[in-house]
Symmetry: none
Subunit: 297 residues, 2 copies
């Protein structure tokens, strides 16, 4: 049986009532399992993870996108995370018995439906991208909600579905297909965001760092700390421990310490086991030695 | 769905034909998965690992016990490992959606069946023990097959199931329930076994170390190294990283380095994830954030 994961991100991280309304369509649906949702006040953003039967997941997620369109007004939205829509991004991740191509097709089906029924312009990104410069979500979202009118005048940024016109309150949406990524944040014992930014630059691909790390700085004012916030876009090639040790190493030059880290949303078992294997220096270890591997076969 | 692991040990490690006959009932059974079996010639012993649905596992393991009874004659058995029965021990380990109490009940059900149908006296051990001095398998098995007649005369050693009379050829059997243990070895860059021994003593429970570590020294002459070889008998209370860091810390006083480690047999995912969580300093992390956890539910 095919299983897809879908991780829509919504631009609401503070109003619990609205958050529940957005998540509601993903509950108690046949063939759909709501795994996790986490709202971040500083980001003012909600990250939801569902898995299940591909068509059922697509239908349920569409309903949440519709709710978000109805209750979020991007004209009043402020948060530290870049965003350009009420539902900002919606990636599909093939988990079991389906190919990346299947996930791309699912993204396209949802994209067409969102533009047809909700009048929100849709950009396809990552593995679903129709042009190379749309693969990278940061490019697609560049200019954010406030820059959408300008962006949509550019002939290079005609949406994949829908007219070249932003939705007045809901903006635009990026729908895509990708490998599982790990949203991973490392805490620094400094409130100086410039330091977090300098460290982020040393490890991220776009500034010369590791191939599968996207990174930026973020402030956590209530704890008086900063974070290097990351997406590890291929943990089989750039492991979590490598990101962690690289940040520790760079932090030293600023007299700053790494005090911990966090995973946002879900994380594949394999990525964590690789971390354990590195720190324990495990010899001849592979996933077959993990009891649960045999439980899943 | 509940999953139990069962690791029966049989007193036959040399005759491949007999070994296959013992293992045969554990193959291709609905709801039962044979994970691994290893025969040791010096020990003259066979260790089998199966997992699956508790009742199905119990039924299949009973069949193997019956086969072992029919083809092993303990009067002719010689080996380096202590043993007192054709099927010597049979522990059940709760893996998923079942409690230790469920595993204890399973052990008791099997025990009753083995004594009723096969006329083998049964001692319950570890978490299934009915008296404190039966918790430790070494106590239960003391005197071995050759001392069984004597032992069964002792009113303190009346079997939990069956008459106080050994089976003429199959002896007795210890059936129990226990937590999963991890067989874990840490490599030292010294060939001096005295150093490995001194380090082992500092970390093991019996010499004043951690509560859930059993440890000893071992030589690996072909690599000119030694190991601290361990059983971690409750990884939820004494974690792998703690054993690893404790050995590293103790090794320093001898100018010795820890060069790596290894897991023998299977290891629960949770134990490895705890290691990753420690070294990355993960905040707010639990098993629910591991993707595979939700796939297994």
């Amino acid at each position: 049986m095919a299983v897809v994961q879908c991780v829509p991100n919504f631009s609401e991280g503070r109003d619990l009532d609205k958050i529940e309304k957005i998540v509601e369509p993903l509950r108690k649906k046949e063939g759909v399992k709501l795994l996790n949702y986490e709202a971040d006040k500083n980001y003012n953003r909600l990250v939801v993870t569902v898995i299940g039967e591909p068509q059922q997941v697509k239908k349920a997620v569409f309903e949440s996108i519709e709710v978000a369109k109805n209750i979020i007004d991007m004209n009043n939205h402020k948060g530290q995370h870049s965003r350009f829509g009420a539902t900002d991004v919606c990636p599909f991740i093939p988990i079991k018995d389906m190919t990346m191509e299947d996930a791309v097709n699912l993204a396209k089906e949802l994209g067409r439906e969102v533009s047809d029924k909700l009048s929100i312009p849709v950009f396809l990104y990552e593995d679903a991208a129709t042009k190379p410069d749309r693969q990278n979500l940061a490019n697609v979202r560049k200019g954010e909600f406030e820059g959408l009118d300008e962006k949509l005048k550019d002939s290079n940024w005609i949406p994949d579905f829908g007219e070249a016109k932003k939705h007045e309150s809901a903006g635009a949406i990026a729908i895509g297909a990708r490998r599982p990524l790990i949203a991973y944040n490392i805490n620094l014992d400094t409130d100086n965001i410039e330091i977090a930014n300098k460290i982020a630059k040393t490890i991220r691909h776009s500034s010369g760092g590791y191939r599968y790390i996207k990174a930026g700085p973020v402030e956590i004012p209530e704890r008086k700390i900063t974070q290097v916030t990351m997406n590890l876009t291929d943990y089989t090639k750039t492991s979590m421990y490598r990101a962690f040790e690289a940040v520790k190493m760079e932090a030293r030059r600023f007299g700053v310490n790494v005090t911990g880290s966090e995973v946002v949303g879900l994380c594949p078992m394999e990525a964590l086991i690789d971390v354990a294997s590195y720190y324990l220096g495990l010899e001849n270890f592979d996933l077959e030695k993990v009891l649960e591997t045999s439980l899943m076969e």
